[in-house]
Symmetry: D2
Subunit: 154 residues, 4 copies
């Protein structure tokens, strides 16, 4: 199957990713390589937006499920980090409703339940026309600032 | 946070990905960028192996959950494609048991149930020492014969 | 551990369940035994309500996760049956946010995506005060038109 | 739809459930009502067996998904309680592979990962012929003996 990716777009993404050394929430190699724009429009929401490029495709020529999972994961983990504390994903369930092939897409993460140890979040991915592409929800355990019982972890 | 990635390793991965134009199972841009080796040791198994590099990290400095999801997804979707037919992931659930920071890791996908329409698969990700890093399972609908709405897809 | 259930309540539930022979959506043995009230307030919603009783408890003395799963499943499957057609659950993921020990609880099922073959639904369980107890979402394949292997089911 | 359940079987199950007051692991109202036999053949396994009866059916006349979820949940939660400590289910994902209509079925729960706070378990449900009916896995947080950081919780 021919699947020549847009070399200029892929190279621009790669050089953008390598041009900085930051590894922090909102700005790390993968987030720069995928061209993610991370914003927090209100206290309960994290929005992650990106333009779909063909270097992100699966063999069938649509956005790879793993890239979708990456974007959805970030929309939840970044919200948790911003509002409660850094956590690790215990598990994540993702439903793939429609394929994405082009345009700007947007994930919107929200809390289902905040906690001092266990936190639950959910997120939805939509295309530029508002069609629902994927949903996910996940379970997180807080690290760092406060351990599972409120005691410092590190 | 300092998170300077190994530029040489990242650039080698990127140039390897861009040097070919194939977009097929086992060989597409993302699989080349992640350095995936996909093999089928027997009729019921697909193994995906890769070396962990820091350009795959999350802000905390371990393998990003989205990269893990990508590798796990491929170990199931490639097996389905090889043994039954091309499918689309309806959903996937992933549990993250331990972080991965270095070394060669290995996902092993297997069938839970084959079907002419719906197929169920599972997979496990282990490190070089055999420790279980993540598990996932997923539901797939075959394309080709009949698409998601009963109409032929291809 | 002492866990004497309210005999009168349990017996009333059982006799109510056995007093009728219907096995249909909204009215089958388990729905009568659990005292479920199933309503469809609008085209996109199915509400299932019940009073929590101690014969539904787990060993720790709160509503058993399996009973929660039953109620959540029904709020989605009944909506699908009412608005699209009878389906079988391919999978379901449930998150348990808070235990329930008493009072009237309410599950509200909605569509994530309707389809001629695959349908996605979600649901939320709340207590009388509106606190979120559990969420679930699920993937369904329609029966009737075409079964799981493309052959008519009924 | 006619769906007259076997009154004698249902009544025997109910009276068996009500005849005892125990509410403990392996013996509580729902476990007695469903006729569950819970055993621990080795350190890493919990087996739950039951005979399928029509009082456990969904409107379509097969074992209700909620009853399946109940049995699978118990096969994991009882194992955790026996080997590590009492926990609460944070989430559970269930895949329904084949319907069950009669006979003796068997769920076999196992650990994916033990932990002082978070524990992961999986389970498989098979019929008398060994056919795989359903699989589930789940995430648990320990209560009681040891809190999430090894400190007593209660």
């Amino acid at each position: 199957m021919t699947g020549k990716v847009d070399h200029a777009a892929a190279r621009a993404a790669f050089e953008r990713a390598l041009a900085e050394d930051a590894r922090e929430f909102g700005n790390f190699f993968l987030s720069r390589f995928l061209g993610l724009a991370v914003t927090y429009p209100d206290d309960d929401t994290c929005v992650v937006e990106l333009d779909v490029h063909d270097y992100m495709f699966n063999p069938q020529g649509s956005l790879h499920g793993g890239v979708i999972a990456t974007v959805l994961d970030i929309s939840m983990g970044h919200l948790l980090n911003r509002r409660v504390g850094t956590g690790m994903t215990l598990q994540m369930e993702t439903k793939f409703l429609r394929p994405a092939r082009a345009g700007r897409i947007r994930a919107e993460g929200r809390f289902l339940k905040k906690g001092r140890s266990i936190n639950y979040l959910e997120t939805r991915l939509t295309d530029a026309g508002g069609a629902l592409l994927a949903v996910a929800n996940s379970t997180w355990q807080l690290l760092g600032a406060a351990g599972p019982d409120g005691a410092p972890r590190s």
